[in-house]
Symmetry: C2
Amino acid sequence: MSFKVLTSIKSVDNFLLEHRNNKKISLIHTMGNIHEGHIALIKRAIKETDIVIVSIFINIIQFDKTEDINNYPENLNKDKKILKELGVHALFAPKLDTIYPQNYSSYIIVDGLSDVLCGITKPLQCNGFTTLMCKLFNIVKPHYLYLGEKDYQQLIIIKKMIDDLEFNITVKSVQTVREKSGLALSTRNSFLSPREIIDANLLYKALKHAKDLFKKGEYSTNKLINAIENTLHEGVTLQVDYIAIVDSDTLNKLMTATKGSHIIIACYCGSTRLIDNISLKG
Amino acid sequence: MSFKVLTSIKSVDNFLLEHRNNKKISLIHTMGNIHEGHIALIKRAIKETDIVIVSIFINIIQFDKTEDINNYPENLNKDKKILKELGVHALFAPKLDTIYPQNYSSYIIVDGLSDVLCGITKPLQCNGFTTLMCKLFNIVKPHYLYLGEKDYQQLIIIKKMIDDLEFNITVKSVQTVREKSGLALSTRNSFLSPREIIDANLLYKALKHAKDLFKKGEYSTNKLINAIENTLHEGVTLQVDYIAIVDSDTLNKLMTATKGSHIIIACYCGSTRLIDNISLKG
């Protein structure tokens, strides 16, 4: 099957009609700038499913005003080349008004999950992401969604939405891909200065250190958070947005950490917002 | 094909797997108490599609506290008998926790349509209905949705949601079925006392009178609304919730009525809330 670039919803329908028969379809959504993090998702999807569809769409409604969406880099031609070489079957790269025509007005909210953590600082982000995913599910009709663990809150919200709204989709979460330094791969890393990169490396260092403390018997989330703050303070360009230790399923904040907890960090590094997380399991 | 009663989501999946092959599936959602209004929808669906699925579910999240949901009548056995005799292929009658398990938290909002008219008095009603319909769409996977025109706002909101979220479903709207007196059929009519029924008949009388005035050249929506109020004032048990003349597609309130307008009324008749509407077309 040759690599197809689809831009209209009708073209996705036709592609699916042609290829669907009992084949397992997987979706990987990206905002473009395909990097090793995306490639890890794509490779797993290619291994495990029959038809792999990648979407590239800069989801304008999940950005707030403090982010310069216009600076978000676009490299569609480079991305196409990478996807084709990887063996992706179709790229869905819709225009803005294909997804959000004038007078667009339907949104998905996930109560209690969208309004904590990143939802406080970036209220649009969570509802914007669920809304786009609902649309992509209805357009691409995938059986599997491959999603990285880097944005852990997003992963949990999408799982909850799929469950609540009865989408017949299995979520396959894939471990965060990291630089040798531990820094989680992200398109945003390209915004960082050399000094900021050094500081950004502290996020994962802080998470690992807290996990070590937990393994040694420190269960107080306040003390673990203090330890993380101390590590992050070493980074002069870092400003903490939040550090939270939450239940891995409900995202409820905890007083006492357990193996079922997750530590989630959001930090400004200069003007770039970075996120990372670690499970206390294992 | 024999009549099936399905209560679990899995049983709907199995039913569909067995019968789906290229067949046109239609959905008619009700809260039970099947009456001639529902029957008109069902008969059209049977005529026009291959598999007709009726859902019965009292959608608790679209009731507000002022309504006594416990008084909402249930006649499931009677309904089953009627549906079977009509030739309906399956009834989906889920339990409350099949649709809304504990910790349920995903909702669909339709901005600008859910927060006007009935959305002001009954804020839960509109979001509750879109959320249920989204779930039913994902469970039943219908090609066609048959919906009455009595709740005109609901009809417009569902059309907008289907369009915005890319559900591949065609809405077939069916004219409101009325008593000889003009009263729109509704389960709620059974709550009315003989005196209240006489007053309730004024709703359609007022709508028709306003339409007559419009045809004679009265385009001022203020004057048309005044005329409706005057008619409704004849009913001692009536209390107007709202009278609105709106664009038939956007539900925006208008100063000047046109053939593309709709008049929508919501009225308390004693303690029972009744709605009705009329198109100014034709």
